[in-house]
Subunit: 108 residues, 2 copies
DNA sequence: AGTGGATAGGTAGAACGGCTACATGTAGCA
DNA sequence: TGCTACATGTAGCCGTTCTACCTATCCACT
């Protein structure tokens, strides 16, 4: 599945995977793959800019570390990010209801 | 709700409202509003180009008519459009499952 | 020792599609 | 006469994701 289809929903998805544990970019990519059963396979050119955007917006905070020679930038949810995530979940419910109301086949 | 969030889902929604009866652009706009409980309020600058795009792609066919002095371009679903709509409904189910799998809060 | 794949982070520039803002015109009502 | 609803459309902007590319380390296999 193209992340293009996720447009507007990618942000809360990213926030959701770092909700309980801080993760670095690559791990976020893998977590998304795993949670989606392989359907979400973000190119790095999508994920990394998105993470920076979310950090600039104040929803994520990052920290550099080096693990066995590899640089890692680990992201964690800020309190603003938690709020954003909660909002995102609510908006998803609305969105889903709206789409299904329109898409549902009418026998009449 | 911004149509921006609908990105990638707008096409099947438009096809869905003309599934059983051909409608002209303005009526499609109103039908979307009604079916979505007012949430979907497409600006004309979104709808009309989308209709032309769908026609170019072969999913809709249009016909001019004049009703009480007003020009109307009435769109109806082609057989390719019917298939596209069916596909779109299937993709929506996949999409929904994927998003919810990622967004769902984890207690662990 | 060398190669290739997985891990890890990143950028530049293009494409896409929905956006705002504008343009045009008719019908009906106050 | 002017306002609102009806009706169709275009131009150009903007944000997000895209493809394609770059760097670098670690590990397994040859």
């Amino acid at each position: 599945m193209k992340a293009d289809a996720l447009r507007g929903h990618l942000d809360p998805m990213i926030l959701a995977v770092v909700e309980h544990e801080p993760l670095h970019g690559y791990a976020i990519m893998e977590a998304l793959q795993e949670r989606s059963g392989g359907a979400v396979d973000l190119p790095t050119g999508t994920l990394y800019p998105a993470l920076r955007r979310l950090e600039r917006a104040g929803y994520l905070a990052s920290e550099w570390s080096t693990v066995s020679g590899r640089k890692r930038r680990t992201y964690q949810l800020t309190s603003a990010g938690q709020k954003m995530l909660a909002d995102g979940r609510g908006e998803w419910e609305t969105f889903r209801t709206v789409i299904e109301g329109v898409l549902r086949p009418r026998t009449s």
